[in-house]
Symmetry: C3
Subunit: 640 residues, 3 copies
């Protein structure tokens, strides 16, 4: 006799070696297949045959008519199914393997439990179920260990108790495929499975399950192939890119990974971030058997700077590491919106990269793909497709939100127009967006009011996301229309009154100069001639002065608002290239500490206080050398 | 036969239409009134009469002697009560309505359960009770829905379970009157009713219950009619006003609405806010069957600015909307103390107004009732009664706190004197307040120490309310007297040492000028000649310089402390009108960006940095033109 | 008969008065001692004697042979044990006290339960146990009262329910010694005892228990007597001091008191604080039957200023008072690391002193023991032992951490070298520390990288402790080595790049002057010629300039980096005494508002903006007068 112990891989060797199947104790009659030799143990001998056990639940008679030789109780032999009687009794016959003489390998057979998907738990509360899935989070409480398990249908918390505060199933880790037996119970905040048993799948079982899960996840991650709100050839170039991001985000949710949204705190940034937040919250709620999952798994954070600041990235990382420690959460995916395309983002990205935190940027600022490309898991930017800032991030993200949750469509029809108005987009699609908005009750005045109200609210919210207030301003998520209208009117009026107040103080101090190129140059010292630390901030103050001066003197116009160590630039009708000017100034003015960026014709520059005069002089010289180009217009103001 | 289905309104029509009452299945004998026709169903016929059922619990005999005609089991007829026998058996007789022939309407009768008030729940833990009240908060958890219900006696949480995370009784909303059947249970943080049934009352029942609740609330909201701590005619003018606010605040608590207190972060502001916070906490604890209710329902927040800043209002609104979303709380009442009377408060108020958030202001700063009047639900200010800032907010609020909870009286006797000393009040009542304080162990030195200690602690607490520390300084809420004394001495000494340190740096740089009117004008550049970002802030620094200069040169004195974009003004013995001067400067200096306010003779002004010289020159000119008036004295310093 | 009621003290009076012992109802046979008179009550009279009860569980026969006189059921008499039969039956005989005739006092005897230590609770879950200990925390919830009780082995929460939200055992307070009967149960976050009975021990019982607990605590508080990582005579002088602090800290943990660590936010400060935090967390976890105890009981907070700011102290006090109110926690011990030795710390210390908050400082900055000595419960500082800043706080605290938890040793071998490199220590032990680090894979380049990475991470973390990030940088607490290496390289590179960027802006503006003494003096206006509000801060910027200038021109060098109201000083090879210079300037420049401090040859000075020129001129004059001393070298940069 030679018994080989076969691994789970179950590769049967050459023809000479037989395979004998060994049922696990919990196997039932349904696990027995015809024409297969099973290991059996004799538990009784009677006149008309012998009784054999194949598992705790599978026994049967081998009739004396098919037996040869002598047997003793406890002896093992190989049998195969002869028949199942009408009453369920099973009859076996000796299989063609002699355990004493032949070479054979033993193949264990696990009970093939019918699996209950996480979508059917509520219907099975209180009854034992089995499920298979991937571990996506492990939280050790002082009581049980909570495994969050994702299967084809969703994610469910499973509580396993070993001893108070002691990790149950310590060899199981995030990413493992497991089979769980347990009982769904209704808990305060979720349906939770009380675990009776949990085993890690290995070998073929794991591979098979992983493939099945992977296929299901892939399918479930598929975004909805919605028609864009308007027909727009330029957008079509970016659409495949957005579909990929939609897939990635849906998959992130399905895998139980948190999402941290960092967005530019202006009108376009909020038109991008808020619809996406709502779409993702809806999808999280659909996937997770946990009332509080959306609250735990997505967080939206406005950013004042036009890039991802090290301080924000460090804080994000710090919170992520704490959440992992305390709640066993995976580290988040970071989603940069209307921000995140430039070299200034690199230090923050590299910091996160050390923790393998995936990062996605959707932006319409002039990108530096060489700098950020390798650090981003996905990068959507019109410039990468020969388009430019006129396709705003809000326009892109409304479509992205609809790919994730198309049910939001009716709520979002006016949002791209708000984004476009906020960023003064001159996209060819603006006309269609404005029409679409008008059909939904938003004429241009109302759009401008909403845009103004967003600016004002964002300023006072500072670092708070102000979810409800912003949703009311954007009339999203069941906002009361009447309140929305009154609120928008009020905030927009207030904003304009504060802008007027600021400009009353500032306009007298705007210095005018006609450059040789014919460009009108306006300069304002916002440190000395504007209110500090209040609304509007220097960027918007400069932009508003610029707009008024265009009215007065007409194109081409450049406006510079400067403080002790910064300047904000706006231009219309001039072919500026601010990113290049910044690079040149950096090189030309030693000790100037120049840095900055933005769009081509609107941006901001920083320098050291003591070199202000030199930097601004050099800047003006460069501006004077710039060509006039009436097509170019400044987009949204930059905050600083 | 014509059976009209009558609505809940139960209006009986003209004389021809009879009303027949239909008992609900759970009605008992106590619901049956004499001389009323009831719908009955025959359930047995015997020789001596017929047995009828009026409800599951109400049956009886109609004797054959009063019957005419023939009957069958199951047949309906109208009966009325004949008598209730000693053994409880009921006898009926046919009513004067023939269901076959007459027109009639059916009026349903609900079982008149004896109601258990929320004041008697602890005595009924584990037994089924019934209660009626108004829904004041609905919190959807992942498990049950929690309805907070207010009846005549208090507010109790009621947990109704439909399905995990699914809203129970979805048609019921905050503000509805409901009847609840359920079982009070002791929970970790409260007594809570486990709901067996909940029904919304309609029509007359609702009207009746609402009137009953309203009457009870009105009565319970009545403040205590306490005698003021001292007799003071000037105060009497404001007393009815304060009684109204006391009623409003008690009612706010009874209705389960949260309260957010925003107060000026100085001595008077804290003497106003802290006693009121304690009184309201006590009343909340009395009303709510929830240990944590005071913590959830009242929050005190100091404000640095002399008005309600947009940033604070936006933050308050944001939190309120989040609390509504997460905990189903009503939006709060905002209570402005020692602050909130001027046009500068309008933007903040208007922001809140869009969410119908009630606002109450109690203040003694020079008010602009035209600006704020329409935005406030109540406004108490001595100026509205021909009194002035000498009646400090702390004096008013100590009386207000006592109207809400008179048991605080013994703890509060010294507090008006602290408030008066803090604000240097020259009220005619100061003498009496000082005497009262002296009787309670507070001589003037100790009062000044407490006032100084409050200033110092408030500065370092920044945006924290520092509840315990401030209570220890004010010797409130069971503060240990010994610690209180040592702490006050220490903080006051520290404060004086830091003031001395500051003045050591600054006094040499104070510029003196004798105006033509004879007024001594002192100026100090606090940006260049005082420590920045530390204690004492520019307002207090200027005030302390002013006080020392009065000692040196005597009245009349004006002191101006200026920074790059602000100036702080203090005056004694001069008839200034700072609010008017600010308005004039605003008009006279284009591009100056002047704003500001305060009391008549003490205040602060903001302007743009580049116009400082112009603004201060113009200001001095106006001061030079002001009349001398020895009665006028600067009150408390303003922080900025 | 004269029965005196004896107190618990049990002092028997003069010879004439007998003592009769009275068993409590729950006493068992084990409580009965031979030769002692016990109070007994007759419950049956039979032919052969009388049956007596001594307690509910203790009865026995008094044989007629030893009886005299007549007896009745219910009558009391004094008996003593005659024998215990084999079957456990007890026989008594009359004691030598006649209750009718003699004077006697009654001494109650409590059942002497076998106590279960808190170390054996898990083994007794579900079974009633008894334990004795000191109350260290009382938290009133809306349900039960939670008493945290410390015995010889640890601390356990005990839940006693009186009525919802009502304080159980209201006479029992923190600090009392109690005996508890109850059942250990497994809870979500802990093993907790459900209390059946709790009694305060008085008199001898309390004294005895307290002595037993005290002896056990004292023994358990003993630190581990580990050999220092290196042999170092200078360190030996401080070692007994550190052992005392280790004892104090272990004892603080054993008594359930929280610990709040405030440390200088630089490399040395973190090398001191993080190992200590880990050691204390481990010890807390060992002592407390509560998963979350480390999280609740220790908090590490970085401080930017080189002293304990009033704002930080006020915030710490405020949180401590809130935690006491909400969770019944004791007020914390404050542990100052790499900070806290100077007069500037006094106001903060005095504030905490009013609440009897113990404070320990471990520091290597030049101390002012006269100022802080009386305010500190322990003060470890090399200057107090004729050593100096070259023994860094990190070096001290690594040894302290090992005294508390020696199992950390293997993780910490490189940390003193990191601390030394961070603070540029020229300690004679540096060579040994560097060797030790090298043996553990840390060559000097890697040490410098870690130091640089700590600076950079600390800057961006601002007020966050960033536990995981810093542990990864220091390769502590199971940090992944590969991530640690990549992270350190990245952060160090970034830091150097930002420093280069800063110095590119600044170096051109450094002013050079050769003092008469031959010292090279370099000055830089960091306000005007460096980037503000970003990394590196003025302190580090000045330090880096200083280092480059030493390379250029060689010793002796002084570098001054000044802003509008501060200056940072670095010197090498010059005998400066910055603390003395600050005192002199304070006196010499009226209205200058000078303050400051630091080490002898490196420090920072504050002044009022308007006196900058005067202060810096006077400072340079003093520097010019200083002797050259090549041995003196600047230590770590100071942040400001």
């Amino acid at each position: 006799m030679t018994r080989d112990s076969a691994g789970g891989s179950g590769d049967s060797k050459d023809g000479n070696v037989s395979v004998v199947y060994d049922l696990a104790p919990d196997c039932t009659a349904s696990d027995v297949e015809p024409n297969r030799p099973y290991l059996a143990s004799i538990n009784g001998i009677v006149e008309y045959g012998i009784f054999v056990d194949l598992s705790e639940n599978v026994s049967g008679l081998v009739h004396e008519s098919v037996l040869e030789g002598t047997f003793s109780v406890g002896q093992e032999l190989a049998v195969e199914l002869e028949e199942v009687r009408d009453n369920g009794d099973m009859a076996f016959q000796p299989a063609d393997v002699d355990l004493e003489e032949d070479d054979y390998t033993v193949e264990p057979v696990a009970h093939d439990y019918p699996l209950t998907g996480t979508d059917r738990l509520e219907a099975n509360v209180g009854e034992q179920v089995h499920l298979e899935g991937e571990i996506v989070q492990i939280k050790q409480t002082g009581g049980p260990t909570i495994f969050h398990i994702a299967d084809e249908y969703g994610v469910v918390p499973c509580a396993a108790f070993e001893e108070a505060g002691v990790r149950a199933y310590p060899s199981v880790e995030v990413g493992d495929i497991v089979r769980v037996t347990g009982t769904p119970e209704t808990r305060e905040e979720s349906v939770q499975i009380e675990v009776d048993g949990l085993s890690k799948l290995d070998g073929e079982d794991a591979t098979e399950a992983r493939e099945r899960l992977e296929a299901a996840l892939e399918e479930r991650a598929q975004p909805h192939d919605v028609d864009p709100l308007i027909e727009w050839p330029a957008f079509e170039k970016l659409r495949p890119n957005l579909m990929e991001v939609a897939t990635l985000l849906r998959r992130t949710v399905l895998e139980g990974r948190p999402i941290r949204v960092r967005h530019h705190a202006d009108g376009d940034g909020m038109c991008a971030a808020v619809p996406l937040q709502l779409a993702l919250e809806n999808f999280i709620a659909e996937v997770h058997q946990d009332e509080n999952a959306p609250q735990h798994l997505i967080k939206r954070l406005p950013a004042k700077a036009p890039f991802y600041e090290m301080e924000d990235a460090t804080r994000d990382l710090n919170f992520a590491l704490e959440d992992r420690e305390r709640h066993g959460q995976q580290l988040p995916l970071v989603l940069m919106l209307d921000n995140g395309s430039t070299a200034e983002d690199v230090p923050a990205y590299e910091t996160l990269a050390h923790y393998d935190i995936p990062i996605v940027a959707i932006d319409h600022h002039h990108p530096d793909p060489d700098a950020v490309g390798g650090l981003l898991d996905a990068h959507v930017n019109p410039y990468l497709h020969d388009e430019d800032y006129r396709i705003t991030t809000g326009m892109l993200c409304v479509e992205l939100a609809r790919m994730i949750d198309p049910d939001l469509t009716d709520d979002l029809r006016h949002v791209p127009a708000v984004a476009g108005v906020s960023d003064r987009s001159k996209a060819d699609a603006m006309e269609q967006y404005l029409e679409l908005a008008a059909e939904n009750g938003y004429d241009e005045d109302r759009l401008r009011d909403v845009s103004e109200a967003l600016d004002y609210a964002a300023f006072w919210l500072r670092y708070n996301s102000g979810d409800h207030l912003i949703q009311d301003v954007l009339e999203l998520s069941d906002a009361d229309e009447d309140r929305h209208r009154r609120l928008v009117t009020f905030l927009a009026d207030r904003s304009r009154r504060d802008v007027d107040r600021q400009l009353n103080a500032a306009m007298n101090h705007v210095e005018h100069e006609r450059l040789d190129s014919g460009v009108h140059l306006y300069r304002i010292d916002v440190e000395n001639h504007a209110h500090r630390f209040t609304y509007p901030a220097p960027g918007k103050t400069t932009g508003e002065i610029h707009d008024r001066k265009i009215q007065e003197t007409g194109d081409p116009v450049i406006t510079v608002g400067y403080g002790p160590d910064f300047a904000v630039l706006r231009s219309d009708g001039v072919r500026l290239d601010i990113p290049r000017m910044v690079s040149e100034l950096e090189a030309e003015i030693p000790g100037g500490g120049v840095s900055g960026g933005g769009h081509l014709v609107v941006g901001s520059i920083k320098f050291v206080k003591g070199k202000r005069q030199d930097v601004i002089d050099a800047l003006v010289e460069k501006m004077a050398a710039a060509d006039i180009d009436e097509a170019l217009s400044s987009a949204a103001p930059l905050e600083n």
